[in-house]
Amino acid sequence: MSEPIAPSTTNDDLPAPVAENEVCASSISIDLFDGKMDTRGFKLVLEAALLTSSEPLPASELKKLCDVSLDNAQLEILLEELAQDWQGRGVELTRVASGWRFRAKPQMQIYLDRLNPQKPPRYSRAVMETLAIIAYHQPVTRGDIEEIRGVAVSAQILKTLEARGWIDVIGTRDVPGKPELFASTKQLLDDLNLRSLAELPPLQEISALLEPETATVN
């Protein structure tokens, strides 16, 4: 107990430590790097760029970091390797809708919250239901949302979601009044750490509210 604890010590709160915590030379041989920069050097640049970027970086941007031209498959292998190198750390490299980025693992939040006690507010049910309808039924008009929720949708709700960058207007429906059509944004997927809408939680099958046979008239 008093001795320094070996990395093999497992701890439920923390990711299990693993040996591969470093940025390794790659297993793929990119012999394109002619002296200027080797694969390991390029991975260090990739890592620095991803750690410093405030936005997720798409492959097209990441390729600019390399002195030689890489194809997407090669870049992807290196990024997957980099993600591997970070396994067992409190921070991980993840792929989201608009690219790759580092984030602290959610398990770290209980510690990080100690430094930053004020959290963003939780959204009301009305806001979340509106968001769900837009995410799952997009593109939808305000009228569509009201039809499903059975109540008026305040402009404030839509403004809140637009201000957060989670929804935007992608056009108008060609009916009288030309209502605006709302859709979810890449930002929403990024903020939920998702790559595409297909990764949203699947919709639940709703059990019937009444049996057809019982529909007898009394």
Binding site: A48, L50, L51, T52, S53, S54, V91, R101, F102, R103, A104, K105, P106, M108, Q109, L112, K119, P120, R122, Y123, R125, A126, M128, E129, L131, A132, I133, A135, Y136, E147, I148, R149, G150, V151, A152, D190, D191, L192, N193, L200, P201, L203, Q204, I206, A208, L209, L210, P212, T214, A215, V217, N218
Partner: protein
Amino acid sequence: MSDNQLQLIPYARIHGEPVLELPLDLYIPPDALELVLENFQGPLDLLLYLIRKHNLDVLDIPMAELTRQYMGYIELMESNRMELAAEYLLMAAVLIEIKSRMLLPKVTKVSEDGIEDPRAELMRRLMEYEQMKLAAQALNEMPQAERDFEIVQVLIENTVQERLPQVSVDDLKQAWLGLLTRAKLNKHHTIRREQLSVREQMTHVLRCLKTGEYVAFENLFDLDDGLPKLVVTFIAVLELAKEFLVEIQQTETFGSIYVRTNRAINDE
């Protein structure tokens, strides 16, 4: 029923029994009916709640009682929440319509989908709403950036290599050209051709005097500069004196001449 309870409007009736108390998760003091309703996301939500939690059969709701309940809600809400009241009113109307259509003798209208159940449309809407309500809960449970996890952002110190605008002689020329154009347009100010070298030496001399101390006149000259420059420097000193920028002193005839800036004099 106690007197206190009599003041309550039942939320619904299940098999004739009024539902007066809401389950614990929704309990609100009896005088705060409006707040109870605000806890629901509208009539669909309330109906869904009653159906799911109390196995309420839409058909078993006594129509007279239902109507009375909804009118009660509306009276309460009319004052401040007309929009919401309208929605509950509409829902009451839908329920009454369904009930009345079901009371009518069966006409067995066969549509393409089979026998038309007057409740089908309401059920479809309720199920669609319930699905979205659950989806919203699931979305809310997903870890959200900033709320449930932090984004990594390491500083890049851009000051390491701050880019400064590059200026060329040509840029300066262009700037003057701009000034000249304007000067020509409004002839209020004429720009004189300056004796640049004199101006330059004036600056040089002022720099030498920057400390505010007296400087020996001869120290303003560098004999290695050659005659033209020495002359220009001399003119510069005279020019500075003319513009009251420097003070030249000689305490005795043929004595040493000292120069200092006027600022030093003024500071005394």
